[in-house]
Amino acid sequence: MSEAKHDFTLIGRPLPKVDAWAKVTGETRYADDLVLPRMAHAKLLRSPHPHARIRRIDTTRARALPGVFAVITGEDLPPVKFGILPVSQDEEALCRDKVRMVGDAVAAVAAVDEETAEQATELIDVDYEPLPALMSIEESLAHPEVRIHEYGDGPNVHKIVGLQFGDVEAALARADLVREDVFFYEGNTHLPMEQHAAVAQWGADGKLTLWSSTQTPHYVHRLLARILDMPAAHIRVIATPVGGGFGGKLDPFAHEIAACKLSQLTGRPVKITLTREEVFYVHRGRHPVLMWMKTGFTRDGDITGCHLKTWLDGGAYGSYGVASVFYTGVVNPVTYKIPAYRFEGARIFTNKPPCGPKRGHGTPQPRFALECQLDKAAEQLGLDPADMRRRIVADPFTKTANHLTITTIGLAECIDKVVDASGWRSKWRGWVALDKTVVAPGVNGEVWRGPRLPPPASGSEGPGSSASRERGGLEGAALAPSNKTSSIGTASASKRGIGFACSAYMTGAGTAIYWNSMPHSGVVLRADRSGGVAILCGATDIGQGSDSILAYLPAEILGLEPKDVHVHPADTTLTPVDLGSYSSRVTLMCGMAAIQAAERLKRVIAEAVARKL
């Protein structure tokens, strides 16, 4: 390993990022920093109701306000529903008939300044007919007569997934210990420091340019063509440097679409910047997930098989939810040997801001469940939780039960290092009787009060059924997620402890959002007479350093300094497609494209020089 490092001059060395100088001087221009001549400012009017039918929208008073240039509602946009995934086309930029959450946009205003635009939104009269609001997984399943959407795998059920690999029942039957636990992971949101912002400019030539703080300019480009019903070739999407994404800027959003339409109508560039409050409505954050997990263990701590069920609180729209529910099941088996595995998942619609992808998309929730359950099993079996995990780590160059490929893994070595460096052997003093009223309220005999859940896929017992409640013996009892009498938080002053958990995620995102066989990423590498090299790539720098990767790799191969490589990112007119900054894919995908292009350029230059010599 250490020898290989010497083969590189740049790679492996800590270098300043190529955009570091602009970022420390305030020079970097984020979307909200853009100012264009004659620019108007836009605001959205958002629903105050979680669920309501729209009877009528009257914009007369808003349009009469001095300084207002244009007011639009859903009627001014093509009647197209959209969504980031082809299977979940359920969003409208401006809702026409119904709002499904507080914060759903119903109208938009362009005005001389932000304040006037905001005043105008307050002058739009919307006549709502409130509908019953479903605010939890339980409520949505208990009220099939109230339908948030008219599509999906059941009333208020967006998507059901079921996968089985191996004979899980037989695997559990031969286990020495079978644990059955219920966990609830509360959701959270990305909270980038930069609020979403966009500037749209509809030229007199009928072509549209949109600058936006987006992680996925290519997908926004494709969807805008459909939503605005115009040729994609006439739309240019430029992703500005993103002030933090974390998955929250991966969808096409109402504000982007409204800005485009308002620019067309006013003949002016239009800027829209969300307030911090609006960022919470846009959301697409981590799903709250209810999880039931049944796992068999041998006395030595080996896993014989695992059965996982997840119920995701998806919020009001599909977003990436079909992928999210899938991810709650597929990545758990990659760290440890799990020879038989069964997964059933369901994503439920509720009248809340939609959930979506957030760092580690869909995987921290079931990972939390698995790692907690491993500890519970280790305690019952009297095993050291670090040693137990070390023992069951997946082997390199194998396939998981659900057919994921593990190449190198290094987790065993990682565990060894963490055990040493953390002082685990001296700090972890064995399993001691815990004060369960503080640590885990509801563990002992607490009856599961969760929902009676739909039988996803193959309908077996779930936490709402009598089967799981009545099991005894070595199996664990259910853990109530929302126990109001919990004494957590009332425990005296903070205490320190030590625990052990592992996790994993995949790299590269093997599938495009829309299935196709084209490259996931491409670069154009251009050497010019100055001796400099320009690299054009659709990748978006969201702070992860993709601009720098795009400079380092060609510089390494061509023997240049990173400063000699000019990076031009994320411009759908000029740069080859890159699918976007998500799923830890950019360094792998764009990086490979940059390496291939640089190797070719090097050959071209070498051949030309060779002929000359």
């Binding site: 970022k23 420390v24 020079e27 100012v35 244009a70 990305h190 980038p192 933090g244």
Partner: protein, 172 residues
């Protein structure tokens, strides 16, 4: 749909006040409504977009600037109260064509990731180093406690402030 291009009814708009401010050592004059925040005036009226808005509630520290050398949340400050006082933004940190040692250290050590919180953190750190040239790690942490970095690059930020202090000390 499109409203006729009515002239703006200036009479209905809030009255504007002439403000004299000293920004990054330069005297500036702006005509703004008195309720505009310093953040808005800097970004919208003076074109100093290096100062960022984060929460606009005084929670995140993103919009921090210096007033007479002390960190102030520009989203909560009213310029009408700051006439005659010296305001420093990130654009004013570099002097004589060279970067401030903090800027240099932040760039070299990768302390700016998405970079959005960076201006506020740089200025808060500058105020610290101006008062305590060789701060302890804990003093740096305390000084930056009001600045959020959502990319969670805190370790490198603390390292960069330490490096800048070290270099400034060596120069003295």
């Amino acid at each position: 749909m499109l409203s006729p291009g009515e002239p703006r009814d200036l009479a209905r708009r809030p009255p504007k006040t002439r403000l004299g401010l000293t920004i990054n050592g330069e005297a500036c004059e702006v005509l703004v409504p008195v309720h505009k925040t310093l953040l808005e005036v800097l970004r919208e009226d003076l074109g100093l977009t290096g100062t960022k808005h984060g929460c606009e509630l005084g929670e995140c520290g993103t919009c921090t600037v210096l007033v007479d050398g002390l960190p102030v949340l520009s989203c909560l400050a009213l310029p009408v109260e700051l006439q005659g006082r010296a305001v420093t933004t990130v654009e004013g940190m570099a002097r004589d064509g060279g970067l401030h040692p903090l800027q240099q250290a932040f760039a070299e050590l990768g302390a700016a990731q998405c970079g959005y919180c960076t201006p506020g953190i740089l200025l808060t750190a500058q105020a610290l180093l101006d008062e305590v040239p060789s701060p302890t790690r804990q003093q740096i942490k305390d000084a930056l406690a009001g600045n959020l970095c959502r990319c969670t690059g805190y370790t490198k930020i603390l390292d960069a402030v330490e490096l800048a202090a070290l270099r400034s000390g060596a120069r003295r």
